[in-house]
Symmetry: C2
Subunit: 317 residues, 2 copies
Amino acid sequence: MTYAMIGTWRMAYEGLSKGLDLLKGGGTSGDAVESAIKKVEDYPFFKSVGYGGLPNENGLVELDSAFMSGDTFGVGAVMGISDVKNPISIARSLSHEHFNSVLVGEGASQYATKNGFERKNMLTPRAKKIWEKRKAEIAEKNLSPYDGHDTVGMVSLDQTGSMSVGTSTSGLFMKKAGRTGDSALVGDGFYVDSDIGGAAATGLGEDIMKGCLCYEIVRLMGTGLSPQEACDKALYPFLRKLKKRFGKIGEFSLVALNKDGQWGVSTNVEFTFAMGTEKEAPAVYIAYPDENDKTKISPITQEWMDAYEKRIKAPID
Amino acid sequence: MTYAMIGTWRMAYEGLSKGLDLLKGGGTSGDAVESAIKKVEDYPFFKSVGYGGLPNENGLVELDSAFMSGDTFGVGAVMGISDVKNPISIARSLSHEHFNSVLVGEGASQYATKNGFERKNMLTPRAKKIWEKRKAEIAEKNLSPYDGHDTVGMVSLDQTGSMSVGTSTSGLFMKKAGRTGDSALVGDGFYVDSDIGGAAATGLGEDIMKGCLCYEIVRLMGTGLSPQEACDKALYPFLRKLKKRFGKIGEFSLVALNKDGQWGVSTNVEFTFAMGTEKEAPAVYIAYPDENDKTKISPITQEWMDAYEKRIKAPID
C-alpha cells in the first residue's frame, strides 16, 4: 500500500511535509492530518488559520474546523470557537462521539475547556494591526470589508488504506460575529470515504456550500473518475449554474485524493497547493482554471515562493 | 403549473395547510415554507421546534434553522441561536446575503436583535418541567440523556415552478451547549433546486450528516428517478454502509418533492409526515421501512391522531 497527502494553499507545505513523514513511518491518516493542520494553525504568519488568523468585525478571532474519518464516516466539527490553540484537535476528538459531535459558539469553547484542550488568545499583534488598518480603510474608502478567506484543508491516505480529511480556518476576514462558511459543513467543505477518496475546499464558503462540492467529488471518484476528472467535473459546470442562478460567484478551489494516492485540483482563481506521495517528495504547485473546464497545474517557482515569504512577513504600516 | 408541499412529522400539518392556502392563491414557495414553519415554531406543544422546544443540558433552548431557495441556491442558516421567536424568518432573511449568510451562537442572536427580529424566551413552563424530570431520571437511572430530535422540514413548489426548503429545530433533547445537527447544514439536512426538486431530513443529525442525503436525493431525482425512488435509493443502502462503518446508527427520515409536485419519503423508524398538492387535500400519513429497500406508506388513522393529541398535552408529573 502507498501513502499520500494533499493540502490547500502554499501554507499547507510544512505541515504536509511533517504529515508525510508520519505516514512514511506507518502513522495513521488521522494523525497525519491532525499534526499537519496543527502546524499550520501554530504558525503566526498565516493570517487565515489558527494563531495569527484575522479577527471578525469585532476584533475577535473566531475559528471553524472539522475532521472526518474515511473509515467510520465519523465527523467532528467546531464553528465560531474562540481562544483555543488547535481547533483541529478538538474537531478530531469530537469525531469519535455519536452525539454532540458538532459544536458551535460558546458551547464549543466550553467543551474545549472541560476536556483539557489548550486555551490561547489567538489574536496576534500583527493580526490586530491588519484589522485596525482595514477598519480605517473601509471607513475612508467605503470598501467592501470582505477579503481573504483561505481555509487549510488536507486529505491523507495511510499505508493501511485509511483516509482522513481535516479543515481549519479563521474564516472570512471582517466577518460578522458568528459567521461560518463551508469549512465545518460535511459534504460542503470536506468529505472522505476510505473506499473511494476524499476532498476539501477553500474559497468563499457561502458559495461553496451551495454546491455540496466535496461530497460530489468523492461521489464522482466512486463512479470511476480520476481525482482530476472529478474535480473538474464537479466544479466548472457548477460555477456556470451558480452564476446564472445567484447572479455572482466568489472564489472556489478544491483538492482531492483517491485511495490509490492519485490526486486532483480545480479552481476559478490562482490557487497554490501542496502535495506529496510515497514516490513524490512534498512540493508546492500552482493551479489556474484552463479552457474547456480543465485545470492547468505547474510546479511553483522559487520567485513565487520568495515573494510570498516577503509578503506574509511585510511590515504593517 | 401545479403546486405542492411536504413536511416532516404530524406537527407539520397545520402549518402546511396554511402554506398550501398561500400557494393556491398564487403565493411564492418561499412565503409558503416560511409561514408554514412559523406556525410550527409558534405552537407550544411541539417540543422539538421553536417555542416549547426542549432545552439543552443547561436548560437553554438553542435553535437551528435553515432556508434555501431552489431558484438562486441562496442559503441562510442559524445554529445555536437563542431567545428568538422565529428562527426560520432569520434564516430566510440571511439567504439573500452573499456574505455572512450562516451565523452561529451569540453572533446569530445579535444579528436577530440588530435586524429587528422579535426576541422571546423560548422556554415554556412545560418544557422546563420535562427537562427537570429528565434530569432527575438520568441521575437516578443512569440513562443516556439523548432522546427526541424531531426537526420540521418543509419543501414547497409554487405555481410559477419555484421551489424552496426550510428547516427548524431545537435539536437533540439534553444536547451539550452549542451542539448542532444536520438541520442547518446544506446538502445534509436540506437541499433544493427548482429545476429538479427538494428534500429535507429529520432524525439523529450526527448520523444524517455523514451521508449528505438531501443533496443525494435531489441529485438522484435529477437523473430521472421519482422522489420515492430517490428517497429509497439514497437512504437504505447508506444505512447498511454506515452501520458497517460506524458500528451503530440513529434515526433517519427523509421527505422529497419534485418540480412536478410528485413526492416521496423514506425512513428507518415509524415516521409521520404531512403532504398536500393542487389535487390532494393536506393530510397526515405514516411511513415505515419495508422489505427490499422500499417504504410502506398509509394514511394516518384517527386513533393515531387522537393518541398523539393526548400525548403532547398530557400533564407532566
